[in-house]
């Protein structure tokens, strides 16, 4: 699933490790989500949305609706 995590993270000048610490997950997890190799669960997606002050669909792109 495509997402804007890398951009949002860069806007805040956060490293992957910074974001991982805020989410209480490993840096590997952030990297896997960011590169679209791992789709987060709904609770983690909500956590991300809260952290960035956005809605989930503003961070993650529904590939089916995009095609």
């Amino acid at each position: 699933m495509k997402n804007r995590l890398k951009v949002l993270r860069a806007e805040r000048d956060w490293s992957q490790a910074d974001l991982a610490e805020r989410l209480e997950v490993s840096r590997q997890s952030v990297n896997a989500i960011e590169t679209g190799k791992f789709d987060p669960s709904l609770p983690l997606a909500f956590k991300l949305a809260r952290l960035f002050g956005m809605r989930i669909e503003e961070i993650f792109e529904d590939s089916e609706s995009a095609s």
Binding site: E24, S26, N31, A32, P40, L44
Partner: protein, 134 residues
């Protein structure tokens, strides 16, 4: 590949797995020595014979605990995939060996090897799974 163990749950799981593997070997040697020296038979033989398998139950319990306690869902996902690799590899190997025993008369594979075979495939699966997310 970043294999660093980060969370307390991961540390606990790895520690339990290593201690358990050591205990299996120690208890297996202990049981073999006990049977050789005292020639146990009947009822007393059963608990001593089963003793080396008990740490396996502990690891199964710790695996369940890890999956329940670990907050990082990605790390949980990695372990599940590695264990699926272990289960798949074990099923394929032991089934193939069973047919080899039946039709090609290869030596019998003792059931005590199933657990080490499982962990062998988990270890093989580990870098493969990690590479997918690199």
């Amino acid at each position: 590949m970043n294999c660093a163990i980060k969370s307390p749950a991961q540390r606990r799981f790895v520690r339990a797995s290593l201690i358990s593997a050591t205990l299996v070997v120690v208890l297996a040697v202990g049981a073999a020595v006990t049977f050789r020296l005292w020639h146990l038979k009947g009822l007393p033989a059963y608990p001593v014979a089963v003793l080396p398998a008990l740490p396996i139950l502990w690891v199964l319990f710790e695996t369940g605990r890890f999956l329940a306690v670990e907050k990082d869902e990605f790390q949980r996902n990695l372990l599940v995939q590695c264990m699926l690799g272990g289960i798949g590899g074990t099923l394929a190997t032991t089934t193939a060996w069973g047919y080899l025993e039946a039709f090609a008369h290869v030596p019998r594979l003792q059931a005590v090897w199933v657990y080490p075979i499982f962990w062998l495939f988990v270890v093989i699966a580990w870098p493969v799974v990690y590479r997918r997310y690199k």
